[in-house]
């Protein structure tokens, strides 16, 4: 009865590699189609992302957002839920971060504001995920459709709040006032300078460390606690979960709460780390990009960090590329991202089945 085994590295490394190569291949065709040299383009891209300190800083700064949203999508995936609402949860979570900063930056010291902002981001993001989760678990709503709708509702809500309540008096643009410096997350170059290491300036800030901590926490939660045990059971075999006496609805709800909270942390990086004020559209598609990151990272924190750095590099390298070759826009990165979702997500069986069949055939022979 035992199934023929496919070597572990095939699933963990080879198949993701083939998928990303397919995505790159198609992207290269697009670049060829617009009359540029894909290899040259790749060179600029890699240089832009990793060639100098500032570039690396930007790469990791983008990766920070992607780690948060990637983790958010994957913990839900692990429980068999497709949370497509990361964008809205990040947006509202950012509101929570911003409100915490605006409320306390004039009265509290830095070390009090940081935990408050983390709680604010988590609570607001989780709250935004709670409604679709509740409706799905208890009223049978389709969680995908509901979370999509909640992205739009979040967007309108933010416009309303920014324009009518949070906009700085006397300004045209819908931005809040700039926070006091006590509510700024320190930049990486500042922190390193404090211990005597000098690097170039970049927007990379302390939230990157929090993202790494979240990876460890989520890894521990999923693989080393009974709650994680339950969520993995629900996600892989819902019938076995009922047999084990696990309340699938309850698991759905708290997993979505965690997912929303993680997405909400995008606000730490963007609002508290870089912009230092509340503004519109700071999520900039990172919520959706989290889907690509989690698919690419095989829903494992280590994979997510790697995938987030890869996509962060694409974002940063894409800007460099657009600068060097003006006929290419940074949007080429969005194309690559979409292709990764296509090949490692929607068409996952296409390569996987063939590669696995190849290995089971050779191992049987």
């Amino acid at each position: 009865m035992s199934q023929p085994k496919v070597p572990v590295w095939v699933n963990l490394a080879l198949i993701p590699f083939i998928n990303i190569m397919l995505a790159f291949l198609v992207s290269a065709l697009v670049i060829l189609a617009i009359g540029e040299n894909p290899i040259e383009a790749a060179g600029y891209l890699v240089y832009g992302a990793f060639g100098y300190e500032e570039g690396i800083g930007y790469t990791l700064y983008y990766a920070t957002n992607l780690i948060f949203t990637g983790l958010a999508v994957s913990i839900a995936f692990k429980a068999g839920i497709f949370n497509i609402g990361g964008e809205g949860q990040a947006y509202i979570g950012g509101l929570g971060v911003g409100l915490a900063c605006l409320a306390f930056d004039q009265t509290m010291p830095f070390y009090v504001i940081v935990p408050l902002a983390i709680i604010g981001g988590a609570a607001f993001g989780a709250a935004w995920a709670y409604i679709p989760a509740y409706l799905s678990a208890r009223r049978g709503s389709h969680v995908v459709i509901t979370t999509i709708m909640f992205n739009f509702i979040a967007s309108s809500l933010m416009v309303y709040l920014m324009v009518n309540w949070l906009k700085q008096e006397g300004r045209m643009s819908p931005n809040s006032r700039t926070f006091e410096e006590s509510a700024w997350l320190p930049y990486m170059h500042e922190m390193l300078a404090a211990i005597g290491i000098n690097i170039e300036q970049s927007p990379l800030n302390a939230s990157f460390l929090w993202a790494l901590i979240c990876c460890v926490l989520i890894w521990g939660l999923i693989w080393h606690t009974r709650w994680g045990y339950q969520l993995r059971t629900v996600g892989t075999n819902a019938t076995a979960a009922i047999y084990a006496g696990i309340d699938n609805g309850k698991v759905t709800i708290w997993v979505m709460l965690i997912s929303g909270a993680l997405a909400g942390f995008v606000g730490l990086n963007e609002i508290m780390g870089v912009q230092h004020s509340l503004l519109l559209n700071f999520t900039a598609g990172f919520g959706f990009a989290g889907i690509a990151v989690s698919l690419m990272g095989r829903n494992h924190p280590v994979g997510i960090i790697l995938a987030a750095i890869l996509f962060g590099a694409l974002y940063q390298g894409g800007s460099e590329l657009a600068f060097e070759i003006p006929s290419i826009t940074p949007e080429i990165v969005v194309v690559i991202q979409g292709l990764v979702i296509l090949f490692s997500g929607a068409l996952e069986h296409m390569c996987k089945d063939r590669v696995e069949a190849f290995f089971t055939r050779t191992s049987a022979a």
Binding site: S2, N237, Y243
Partner: protein, 519 residues
Amino acid sequence: MNNTTSPYAIELRDISKRFGAVQANKDICLQVPAGTVHGIIGENGAGKSTLMSIIYGFYEADSGDIEVGGELVNIRTSEDAIRFGIGMVHQHFMLVENFTVLENVVLGAEGGAMLKGGLDAARKELKRLEQEYNLDVDVDAVVEDLPVGLQQRVEILKALYRGAKILILDEPTGVLTPQEADHLFRILQSLKEQGVTVMIITHKLREIMASTDNVSVMRQGQMVAHRVTAETDKEELAELMVGKKVRLVVDKEEAKPTNVALSAKNLSWFDEQGVKRLKDVSLELKAGEIVGIAGVSGNGQSELLNALSGITPLSGGEIHFNGEVITAKNKKNASQMRDLKMAHVPEDRHKMGLVTGFEAYEAAILGYHNSEAYNGKILLDRKAMLDECNERMQKWDVRPADPFLKTANFSGGNQQKIVIAREVEQNPDVLLIGQPTRGVDIGAIENIHEEIVKLRDSGKAILLVSVELDEIMALSDRIIVMFDGAVVGEIDAKDADERTLGLMMANALNEEEKAGGQA
């Protein structure tokens, strides 16, 4: 219709089909005379459904020939089968529930790009078919509003409308009331009179005796006997079906049952479609005995296990267990039942008993994952899990004794040992155990049986469900027979033999009494 050169409507020669390691059909030969009702009988897993799927083009046989009306045919899709005049009524109806009867009938045989003409023609044709074959049904009714008996008629009409000359019915009475079943038999008779050849697949002896001209018996993928129905009887068929197996002997002493450990009264359960799957089942389990539930699978055994173990809430009745009374209102989920010291080895370890993606030491705590034994304050106590898993793997001789191996990669017997060890080692008061040795190798079977007896001798109550009759007979102290969701008989294991149990499982003993006067 072509001129019949062969006396057989359909003839199969040496049909074989293999799924991986399982030989589902082996060298099947079958001749079905035109214009007869032919029964195919066998236990679950005997290969009947596979054979019919081959005839209907769902599967292609690995080897062998099919002749329809004397001509060699190649049936690769359902479309081919339909073209050769073969119609099939599936066990689970293939109907679009929110369509009307008429729409369902014309689907795939619309007779043109526009519906209007086809629907009108079908309406007329259905009138004729209804009269000819005694098949009344309101063609404008929506299928989901019809009782199952009528839905089945729609399926038959569908096949006839497509010009089926050979009609295959797969377990046709599984969902029917006795009255509906009787009506079906009358329909089959009129079909026969009109020259249609009918093949019925079933495990119910009564149907075979009541409606067929000839009967073929399948066992373990092979055709083992052909009989003229009038020249055989239920006893012979039951024996042919079950076969004379090597008698399984389990070394055990006389049971010494003591107090009642669990009692269930009038348990009932309705499925999502509102069909009553458990019909007022009452039973008692005493400490120190093994009670076996015999029955052809699909007669309520799984539902009983699910209801007792808390997987599905009761629709009615009550369970008395360790001081609790569980009812439709006072629900207990599977986890709460475990806390009351009930353990459950589910029938299907892949679907339910294990998470095959988990490593062995993780699968070994499924259902007990909240227990203090495996948990620190926050984190799972991996060391405790691993130590225990290693210890059990030694004790139960699980091979390979590797707690980090994915459960999917263990053999069936070793997977089952992981599940049984998990449940038995919790020292439960009641153990529910379904198909303990399904897909398990011989050596492990003996081992598992010994452990079950040992558990009984330590004063536990055990409820055993198995489709293997000899397993039931070898292990049980008392045997309860289920049929159609109800308990239809109870017998002391000492008095049980295959023939008696076979008849009880087909509900043949009761139905003879009931046949006349049932309301």
